[in-house]
Amino acid sequence: METLEQTLARAAVAAPGAQLSVVKNDSPCAQHSLLVDVEHAYAVAKFLRDDPQLRLDYCSNVTGVDFLDAELSEKVKVKKVVDGVEKEVEEVKKTKRAGYLEAVYHLYSMALKHGPVILRQRTPGRADPVKVTSLTPLWRSCEFQEREVFDLYGVLFDGHPDLRRILMWDGFKDYPMRKDYAEPDDYEYEPTPHDEVLEKAKAHLPKAEVKA
C-alpha cells in the first residue's frame, strides 16, 4: 500500500481545490491520518473509495472527537542574540488554539485487504454551526455512526438522509459527549462519595448532619 503522502498527492489531483494535510500520530502504531476540509470531503472520500489502487470500500469506524479551546505550549528553538552572540535558545511558545469538533473515519479495503486510511474532518469551531459533510451516501455504514456523532457531539452532517438523535431521546437538548457537558445532578444517595463527580452527592447530604 502506498504511503499517506502519496495518497494525499493523488487525492489532491482528483479533488482539485481540496485542502489536505497529514496529521501525524506519535504513538508506536503510527497510524497517521489525512485531514480534509469540509467542502471537499465528499470528493476526496469518493476518490478514496473508487480509486482502483485504494478501493477503500469499507468504512469501519466513525468517531466524533471534541477538542476544547486550549493553550498549547510548544518548545521552539529560536535564534536570539544574547549578549551580542547569536545563540539557539529554547523558548516556550504559547499559542491559543480554538476548540473544534472532529469526525474521524477509519477506512479499509475489503477488496484489497488493506488499511486503515484515516480521514478527518474538522469544524471551524465548537459553536453553531458545526457542520461537516456526511459520507453516508458513500458508505452506508456511516449512517448510524454519524447519527451517533450528531447525537452525542452535536456535529451536523450535511447530506445525511436521516439525521436524528439515535441514542438519547428526541427532546434531549445537550450533547453529552462533549468535554464541557454538565450532567444532571441526581446524586442524592451516594454512600461512597469520593471523587469529584461523586462529591456532588455531598450537596444532597442533610446539612445539619454533615460532620466536618
Binding site: N25, D26, S27, P28, C29, Q31, R49, D50, R55, D57, Y58, C59, S60, N61, T63, V65, D66, V104, H106, M110, A111, K113, P116, I118, T136, P137, L138, W139, R140, S141, C142, E143, F144, Q145, L152, G159, P161, D162, R165, I166, L167, M168, W169, P176, M177, V197
Partner: protein
C-alpha cells in the same frame, strides 16, 4: 466492484430526499393507510434480544416499513471510560457484548498495546487465542439457540445451547473467577496464569464439543421447518454488505471473504490453519450455517493450541498496572469478535485517562441494513432476521 449501486443510493438520498427503502415502503403502502398497522416491537419484546425496538408498519403480516430505535441501553460507556483510567475501563468492556467479554477484553487490550507499544508474551498470546475461540464457540452456540427460540422452538435448542455454555463458562470461571464478566486481559498479557488442570479440562470440553454440534445438527440443521423458515429470508447482497460495513459471520454469509483473523493476522492466528466458511445466498439460513461451521473451525484451532501452549510468563513485566500513561497519540485496534469487527479507537493526551475512547460496535453497524433486509417480508421473518444479525444491546447502545 463498481460504484453504481451506491450512486443510486446516493442519488436517492440527495435528489429525492429519500432513501430507497423509504421509496420502496411508499410503493407498497400507497393509499392503504386504513389497512396498515403501526406496531412498536420492543423495547420489551421476547425476541428483540434486549431492549431494542423496531417500529414496524404492517400490511397484514407484511412489513412495509421498519425503523430501528436504539438507546434503551445507552450506558455511556465511552463517557465513563474517558473519566476513568485505562485499566478501569477493562471491566467495562466486559459489559459491552456480555456474551463475549474475553474478546472484548482482547480488542481493548490490543488497542492499548498499539497505543503504548507493548509486547505480549508467547503464553499470553496462546491464552488469548484459546479464550477468544472458546468465546466464539460460546457465542455462536447461544446465537443458534436464540435464533431457534425466535423461530418458535420452545426453549429446547436454547436449553441445549445453554447446557454447553455452562461447560465453557465453568472454564472461564475457573480461569478468570467470573462467569460472564471476566475482566481477564491486561495490557501486555493476561491477569493470571492458567490454574492447575485447566488445560486438561479445556481439552475435554473441546474434544466433546463436536458431539454437541452433531446433536444440534441432527436436531435442527436438517429440519424442514427451519429450512423453510430461513432460506431466502433476510437476504443481503455482498455489495450492500460491504458498503454498509457489515462484518463477522453476517458478512461472510453474504459471500465476502473477510475475516480479521486472516486479514490483520493479529495474535498467533497465522500459526493455525483454519478455513473461513462462506455463504452464497446471504440469507438467514446461511448466517446460521456459517456460524455452525465456524464453530467447527474454531475447534480445529483450539485443539492444537491447547497442546502447543508454551510455558512462560503471562504478562509483559514492563507493563504497569497502576499509573499507566501512554504517550500522546492515537491508535485504532480491532479484532474479529464473534459478532464482527470490534474496534477500539483511543486518543491519548498523556494523562492517565484516555482523551477519547471510542468503541466500534459490530452489532450496531450490522443493524444498519435491517430495514432493507426485512422489507416485504412478514413479521415472523423480521424477527428471525434480527435474530440472525446477532445483536447484543450492550454493544449496540454501549
Amino acid at each position: 466492484m463498481d460504484g453504481t449501486q451506491f450512486m443510486t443510493f446516493h442519488d436517492l438520498a440527495y435528489d429525492a430526499g429519500k432513501t430507497d427503502f423509504q421509496r420502496k415502503a411508499e410503493v407498497i403502502g400507497v393509499g392503504r393507510e386504513g389497512e396498515l398497522l403501526e406496531v412498536a416491537m420492543g423495547p420489551q419484546h421476547p425476541s428483540t434480544h434486549g431492549v431494542f425496538r423496531m417500529d414496524v408498519v404492517l400490511d397484514g403480516e407484511t412489513v412495509v416499513k421498519l425503523k430501528p430505535v436504539f438507546g434503551y441501553l445507552h450506558r455511556n460507556h465511552e463517557k465513563i471510560a474517558e473519566n476513568t483510567s485505562y485499566l478501569g475501563s477493562m471491566p467495562y468492556t466486559d459489559r459491552l457484548d456480555y456474551f463475549c467479554s474475553l474478546t472484548n477484553n482482547w480488542a481493548y487490550a490490543l488497542a492499548v498495546e498499539k497505543l503504548a507499544g507493548l509486547q505480549v508474551p508467547e503464553r499470553a498470546e496462546y491464552i488469548r487465542l484459546i479464550t477468544a475461540e472458546l468465546t466464539r464457540v460460546l457465542n455462536h452456540t447461544c446465537l443458534a439457540g436464540f435464533l431457534l427460540q425466535d423461530m418458535g422452538a420452545l426453549g429446547t435448542p436454547l436449553m441445549y445451547a445453554f447446557r454447553e455454555r455452562e461447560k465453557i463458562l465453568d472454564l472461564f470461571e475457573s480461569l478468570t473467577g467470573a462467569r460472564m464478566m471476566c475482566n481477564y486481559m491486561r495490557f501486555g498479557g493476561c491477569r493470571c496464569d492458567l490454574p492447575a488442570g485447566w488445560l486438561a479440562e479445556a481439552r475435554k470440553v473441546v474434544a466433546e464439543y463436536p458431539k454437541f454440534l452433531d446433536e444440534f445438527d441432527a436436531l435442527l440443521s436438517g429440519n424442514e421447518i427451519l429450512m423453510a423458515r430461513t432460506q431466502g429470508v433476510g437476504k443481503l447482497s455482498a455489495e450492500l454488505a460491504i458498503n454498509a460495513g457489515i462484518t463477522g459471520p453476517m458478512l461472510r454469509a453474504s459471500g465476502v471473504d473477510y475475516d480479521l483473523r486472516k486479514v490483520d493476522n493479529y495474535g498467533i492466528y497465522s500459526r493455525y490453519p483454519f478455513r473461513v466458511p462462506l455463504g452464497d445466498h446471504g440469507d438467514v439460513y446461511d448466517r446460521y450455517m456459517i456460524r455452525m461451521l465456524e464453530m467447527r473451525e474454531s475447534l480445529k484451532i483450539l485443539e492444537p493450541a491447547l497442546k502447543d501452549i508454551p510455558e512462560g510468563p503471562v504478562v509483559d513485566p514492563k507493563a504497569k498496572l497502576r499509573g499507566f500513561r501512554p504517550k500522546p497519540g492515537e491508535a485504532y485496534g480491532r479484532i474479529e469478535t464473534p459478532k464482527g469487527e470490534l474496534g477500539f479507537y483511543l486518543i491519548s493526551d498523556g494523562s492517565p485517562n484516555p482523551y477519547r475512547y471510542r468503541v466500534r460496535p459490530p452489532s450496531l453497524i450490522n443493524l444498519t441494513i435491517l430495514e432493507d433486509m426485512c422489507l416485504g417480508q412478514t413479521v415472523a421473518d423480521a424477527v428471525i432476521t434480527l435474530g440472525s444479525v446477532d445483536i447484543v444491546l450492550g454493544e449496540v447502545d454501549r
